[in-house]
């Protein structure tokens, strides 16, 4: 079980959270201008690193807010959590 620090509520059980995939995937400015392949890349293609990964989590059973976390996919260690709209911390 992971202990995840919600940026609002503090450390909580992993069971209280919902996973939201890769963070900082920008919505295209003009989706209609994209080719099918570009649109598919936006929708379905995600990074799959071994190591640090910025991802979205929702504190579903708590304050119900989405936030971002930088997790090491190899060790599950969470290096940073930050609120939506805040930049990814530089050292994580």
């Amino acid at each position: 079980m992971l202990l995840i620090a919600c940026p609002w509520c503090g450390p909580r059980d992993e069971a209280e959270f919902h996973y939201g995939g890769q963070a900082h995937v920008a919505h295209p400015d003009d989706p209609a201008a994209l080719s099918d392949e570009e649109w598919a890349r936006y929708l379905f293609f995600r990074d799959n690193p071994k190591g640090l990964f910025a991802e979205r989590w929702s504190h579903a059973a708590g304050c119900r807010r989405w936030f971002n976390a930088v997790r090491d996919t190899a060790t599950n260690e969470i290096h940073a959590v930050y609120r939506v709209g805040e930049p990814r911390p530089v050292n994580s």
């Binding site: 609002w8 909580r12 708590g62 304050c63 119900r64 807010r65």
Partner: protein, 212 residues
């Protein structure tokens, strides 16, 4: 000719029969009382409290005016409860609160909050029927809740004036630390499950006299 009970009850309603309210954990009052007899634990339901969900920008003038109108400021620090005048205001999120008041206060409170909002972007929803309030009190209350809650309930971390939305026995609850115990705000459809779970969790603190 035998009477038709369904038709009879319909006729009674038409004649002004008032259908009674039944709180979600009403069926447990006797077992709660029996479990509370030993004194180490007190279980009870506080039925029909008014619950209003309020959403507003915490930095807005409207949020401040709502606090003034309620006589209780909207807490901005996570997990904090403000209390006064029979009301408790629970922090649910950075722009979301639960105003808990006495039975029957919903309409008046809602109008007071709406008046204070004065057209600003504020949402007020009466969610009184969504949850009921269970009381878990007594010297072993923390031990009982710890059976199914991962939060650190030590008074240093979660003393009176604190609240949290969390899981109790895998059920979403709002946990509130009061001066004399805890409130467990549980959804109406989960109230029977939560009551059964609590009654089971308290057995080791209440069953001493049954051993011999």
């Amino acid at each position: 000719m035998t009477a038709d009970p369904v038709a009879d009850s319909v006729a009674e309603s038409a004649a002004g029969f008032v259908i009674g309210r039944r709180s979600p954990a009403a069926a447990y009052s006797d077992r709660f009382a029996a479990a509370s007899a030993g004194g180490a634990i007190r279980l009870a339901e506080i039925p029909f409290l008014t619950h209003l969900n309020v959403r507003a920008d915490p930095a807005s003038p409207a949020a401040e005016r709502i606090g003034t109108a309620l006589g209780v400021p909207l807490p901005v620090e996570p997990g904090v409860v403000t209390e006064g005048g029979g009301l408790s205001v629970l922090w649910l999120g950075p722009d979301e609160w639960l105003v808990v008041g006495p039975d029957g206060a919903a309409r008046e409170l809602r109008e007071r909050i709406r008046g204070a909002a004065a057209g600003e972007h504020v949402s007020v929803v009466d969610v009184s029927a969504q949850r009921t309030t269970l009381v878990v009190a007594g010297e072993r209350a923390r031990d009982v809740l710890a059976h199914g809650c991962a939060l650190d309930l030590h008074p240093r971390e979660f003393g009176p004036g604190r609240c949290a939305q969390t899981l109790l026995a895998r059920t979403g609850v709002v946990l509130v630390a009061k001066e004399d115990g805890f409130w467990v705000l549980v959804r109406s459809s989960f109230a029977a499950y939560a009551a059964e779970w609590l009654l089971d969790a308290v057995v080791e603190y209440t069953a001493v006299e049954c051993r011999g």
